[in-house]
Symmetry: C2
């Protein structure tokens, strides 16, 4: 049921596929996404950063370049999520768009200066319809694969406290986790190792800093399973 859209008359012109990137960072207990300004005349003033794919270009390479150009710095992770070729409208007019996920940590994102702006994913401005679907698809996929790979670590700086790590998981899962169970799972997964440093964050006992250091110990590496 292809819904005819946008600037088309009898038969749509052939337009190159687009690459769209969903750049995420944690920010004040919320997940935020980086949106770029659209053309002034367009209905939606904000858009996911995108570009058209030229022949001979690889999608992964171009996605990394696009993320770096938009962000001014290289993200910790860039990963393809899915292709979107429903009939919905895309700013490029492309019949097909490929969605990418990009993650950076809070510290790096705080240093961002550029034309784009951060928005909480729970409180977004109107987006072009296909991009709205792409964003939702990326978030769903992110949550589903949380326990498959070390995704959460890419939202943190190189060293972090276990409470910080737990807060990232809670942010992505949308629910509270039990501290003791979380740490036990983490320990069993052999994903982090302690550093010598401790950080005093205002009140309370200082926390030890850890770094991401997966050990391929005997038995398949298990993801972090959640207590809570």
């Amino acid at each position: 049921m292809p819904a005819r859209t946008a600037s088309t008359r009898s038969s749509a012109p052939r337009v190159a596929p687009s690459i769209d990137v969903v750049i995420l960072a944690p920010r004040e207990r919320k997940l935020v996404v980086l949106l770029a300004r659209g053309p002034a005349k367009s209905r939606e003033r904000w858009q996911l950063p995108w570009r058209s794919l030229k022949p001979d270009e690889t999608i992964d390479g171009e996605a990394v370049k696009l993320a770096r150009k938009t962000l001014g710095t290289a993200p910790a992770l860039v990963e393809q999520v899915a292709a979107f070729g429903d009939g919905r409208r895309h700013p490029s007019g492309a019949a097909l768009s490929v969605a990418f996920l990009a993650l950076i940590d809070a510290d790096t994102s705080a240093g961002f200066k550029g034309d784009a702006s951060w928005f909480a994913v729970n409180d977004l401005p109107p987006l072009p319809p296909r991009q709205r679907g792409m964003l939702e698809g990326v978030l769903t996929s992110l949550r589903a694969r949380l326990d498959q790979g070390p995704i959460a670590f890419h939202l943190l700086p190189p060293t972090f406290t276990l409470t910080q790590l737990q807060e990232i998981y809670e942010l992505l899962l949308g629910r509270r986790l039990h501290k003791a169970s979380f740490r036990r799972s983490l320990h069993a997964a052999w994903l982090v190792e302690p550093t010598e440093e401790w950080r005093s964050e205002g009140r309370g006992r200082p926390a030890q800093l850890f770094r991401y250091a997966p050990k391929k110990r005997r038995g398949g590496r298990r993801g972090v399973r959640f207590g809570g």
Copy 2:
């Protein structure tokens, strides 16, 4: 920044994205994939079924049509897996290809008459390089999502014995499972219900037939976790 329409000159010409479908069925304890004949002059004589995407077409719709046309009947499941736009060669010359997974059960696949042929996924003829990658990507994704959704059921007829179901899981996972544990997990997941029928399959005690009937019981539906 988005380039114009049809074809460029000096570098590669612009070619519409392709839709490629990996049609799988269980067959004599092996997983088989349906391959179509390529053009006689081409290096690889066999290819994944594919077609070029025209503007205004939706990828999911076209994937279903392609699968149905190739197969002569509608598959039990058609699902997008990923986009492939590495530099590797594709028969269409497209810069970008989208891979789809399609599943049908053994009985239906046995009735297949057509130009294409079934090959065991462990013993394949040479394929165009990008399609080789797409096939591997689809298989990897299939195995990874086995415990997330009811994928296995789409490789079986509407009613089946629990031994048949277990064999499908063993086929996809590539290892033997323990009967009692498998059934316990299945029961806990509330995914099947017994019918009144029993099937006598040669020797031994007859087996009860079950049907796929997921119950959204209290607590999130767990996938089948594997014993043994």
